[in-house]
Every structure is written in C-alpha cells, then in structure tokens.
C-alpha cells in the first residue's frame, strides 16, 4: 500500500507497462509476421522454371502477337506437354486459357476489365504470400504472381489482416473460425470452378470442404447475385469513403470469369463506388460478382507486369504487400 502513496513511482511504472503493451499490440498487428503453416508445393520445379523463363523472355522482348511455347506439366503426369501461346500487351491465348484485358475510362476512373476463359478449373488458382499461411505474412501481388508463374493475377482477400474468418486455399483448410464481422458473406470457389456465396454463421469450414469448396475469398460485399446487383448506391466497405481503387471477381458462365481492377485516389482516377463496380460486373454478364480487398491493395498483374496504378496515398504509385492472390496459370 505504501507503493500507492508514492504516486510518481506508481505512475512511471504503470506508464512504462501500458506503453509497452500498446507497442506490443501494434507490432503484433502490423509488423510481426506469424507463420502458422507453410504450403506444400507439388509443382515440379523444372516446369515452373521453364514457364517463368518463357514468360520473362516475352516481357523483355516485348513480343506482340507472336507465338510462344510454354510447358504444361500436370502434377501426376511425367510427360511434359508443349503449349503454344499467343501473347499481346492485352491478351493471352493458348489451347486452355484465353485472357483479354479491356481498359475503360468511366466515372473519371481507369478500369481494367479482364475476360478470362479456361478449359479446366485447375487453372483458376489462389496463392499465399511466401507460400505460407499466417497473420501479416505479406508479399506484393507481382512477387507472388512471379513466384507462382501466374499469367494473370489480382490481389485476393488479405485474409492475414484478420485473426478470424474461414481460409480455404487450393483445397486446404487453414482457418475455420467464424469471422468477427459476419455482415458480409464469403465467396466460395468449388472444384468445378463454379462460384457460390455463403455466410460463415450458416455453414462450417469443414462442411465447405466436404461440399467441394477449394477456395474461399473473405472480403465482400457480394456485388452481383443471380445476375442482379445486390449492393445499394450507399453501401461501402467498413465505413470507408465512396470512391476507391477496387478489385472484384465474377463468374459469367462455366469457366468464364471477369476480373476487375480499378485505379483510384489519383488526379487521373477518382476510384469507384461499390455500386459502380457492381454495374460494370453486371454489364459484363456476371451472374455472381464479389468485391475483394481494394484501396492500396488493388493490383492487376499480367504477363510479368503490373497493369494498373496501385496506390495507397494517391501520391506514390506502389504495390502494397498483401496476404494472397487469385491467379490464372499452370
């Protein structure tokens, strides 16, 4: 009790302890990476290297409309298959993958709409930063895309910014706790490449795996459902401002997808509201469209290059490091 009678001693010790706690919590939230699981990679390294080298060459030489060859190697197949591809600045075509990037200017914003058609759901993939699951394990979209030999990639849901919420990536269940804010639903990708919208309070992560879900994207909100816009003009992500850089993904038909990334927060591009994104996704024929992590995270990578102008402040064009990507590749 004498301790309390020396107010300054108590105040100094208490202040040091409280400041230490604050610093620890902030470091734990924003700085300290906590790797929980490292993803097992089944890819054959040689195959990856082959594709990467081809891809690098294409970028370096700026080959337009020329035919190239990439090597496909399915995990279980010993034989390699040569795939011819045609690549331009805005398109990629081979026998399995068709990608076409359309840049439009609307609502004072540059918007990159990517039409993707694939022959098999296995080409629509997700990847984690540093191939590791954890909190605050981050890498830029382009680094992850490069590491996974992605042809096309967008930033994902930044699952690592939260300590709760389902995380299923490439068929592996990493986190099964229901997220803190269940206001928004999750986008699930089934093994046949189809999309679904679920609420974490209504189905467990284990049940999702049983139902054939191979990827979850936990951001939101849902923009388009059954072909109709399901956000209002006033809806916004987590008390955010109306216009922002955006990333969205949608499905048009079987194995036919739309990826959208918009610029924002700059003089050239104001950014889009959720409703404006939903309108575009609907125009492009999406039956389901879902909003992914936006703002400074919004990044579109194609063929070795970042296509959009990612920015957090609007002053510096720079990619933000994120937890995960959605990509198209072998």
């Amino acid at each position: 009790m004498k301790f309390f009678k020396k107010p300054f001693v108590y105040a100094i010790i208490f202040s040091i302890l409280l400041t230490s706690l604050n610093v620890y919590i902030l470091l734990k939230t924003f700085v300290i990476s906590d790797v929980i699981t490292v993803v097992e990679t089944n890819m054959v390294d040689n195959t990856k290297n082959n594709i990467l080298e081809e891809s690098d060459e294409m970028v370096e030489n700026n080959i337009l409309g020329e035919s190239n060859e990439v090597v496909e190697n399915n995990n279980d197949e010993a034989d390699e298959k040569i795939i011819e591809s045609t690549i331009t600045d805005t398109s990629y075509t081979d026998e399995n993958i068709n990608i076409s990037i359309n840049t439009i200017y609307r609502n004072n914003t540059y918007i990159y709409v990517v039409d993707v058609q694939i022959s098999s759901p296995e080409y629509l993939k997700t990847a984690l930063a540093h191939n590791s699951f954890g909190t605050d394990v981050t890498q830029t979209t382009s680094e992850m895309a490069n590491a996974n030999n992605a042809i096309l990639a967008i930033n994902g849901d930044y699952y690592g910014a939260n300590t709760r919420g389902y995380v299923i990536k490439q068929g592996s269940l990493y986190r099964s706790t229901v997220k803190s804010n269940t206001e928004y639903e999750d986008l699930v990708i089934y093994e046949d490449g189809s999309f679904g919208i679920i609420n974490e309070t209504e189905i467990s992560a284990e049940e999702l795996i049983e139902k054939g879900v191979v990827n979850t994207l936990t951001f939101g909100p849902t923009l388009v459902l059954d072909g109709g816009i399901v956000v209002s003009e006033n809806d916004e992500v987590a008390k955010s401002q109306a216009e922002n850089p955006r990333t969205a993904i949608g499905i048009v038909d079987n194995l036919h997808y739309i990826f959208l990334v918009s610029d924002g927060r700059t003089e050239e591009s104001e950014g889009l509201s959720l409703y404006q994104v939903a309108e575009i996704m609907q125009e492009y024929g999406c039956k389901i469209a879902y909003n992914l992590d936006g703002g400074g995270s919004s990044t579109l990578y194609f063929n070795g290059k970042v296509i959009n102008n990612p920015t957090t402040s609007g002053r510096i064009i720079k990619e933000r490091s994120v937890s995960d990507i959605v990509y198209i590749g072998y």
Binding site: F4, T29, F30, S180, A238, S240
Partner: protein, 123 residues
C-alpha cells in the same frame, strides 16, 4: 488514511478536460489521413476521459467525497487502459483489420476500475 484534497481533485478535472480535448483533435486529424475510413472507437475516444475523468471527478468534487490515494491511482489507471483500448482498436479498424488483441484492454481496464470502486467502498 490519506485522501486527496479538493485542490487535487480540481486539478485532476482540468487535466482530464484537456485530455478529452486532445482526444477530439487527435481523432479528427487522424481521420483526415485515413482516406475517409473511420472508426467509432477513434471518434468516441474522448468519451472515456470525459465521463471517467471530468464527470466522475466533477461529482466527487461537488459531493465533497474523500477519495483515497489507492482508489485514485487505480481509477486513473483503469481510464488510461480503456483509453488505450479505444485508441488501439480505432487504429486497427481504420487500417481495415479485425483482431481480438484489444480484448486485454477491456478486461484489464474493467479490473482496475472495479478495484478502484472496491477500495473506495471499503475505506
């Protein structure tokens, strides 16, 4: 038992009023740099020193309640912990994150405040 005089209580009220004002200014400035994202925890940060400091000590002052040094220290600590919780939660939410790391502030803050009340009641 050592108790605080009215002069100290009056000074405490002034300090809490200044802290409340600084909290309002800090929240406002922080929001200007958060790209329009806001958090109620940040916006309502000033409520903690206003209610826990200005109003409570105002009542103590007006009612001439004798506050023990232990209760005074514990109460102020509780308010500081709760304020830190509001601030940290606000910063985390504005960054677009949801964590449970802030839980410790609510628990610790409540414990300190309750201890202060118990010590005051048992004087």
């Amino acid at each position: 038992m050592y108790t605080l005089d009215t002069k100290s209580i009056k000074k405490t009220i002034k300090v809490y009023a200044i802290i409340s004002l600084i909290s309002i200014i800090f929240s406002y400035v922080y929001e200007q740099f958060s790209y329009g994202v806001y958090s109620y925890f940040m916006r309502l940060l000033f409520i903690v020193p206003l209610v826990g400091g200005v109003i409570i000590y105002g009542v103590v002052y007006l009612k001439k309640i004798k506050v023990t040094r232990i209760s005074y220290s514990l109460w102020n600590s509780g308010i500081a912990i709760l304020m830190s919780g509001m601030l940290i939660r606000g910063i985390i939410n504005i960054s677009g994150r949801y964590t449970e790391y802030d839980t410790i502030y609510w628990e610790l803050g409540t414990i300190f405040v309750l201890l202060a009340i118990i010590m005051q009641a048992s004087k």
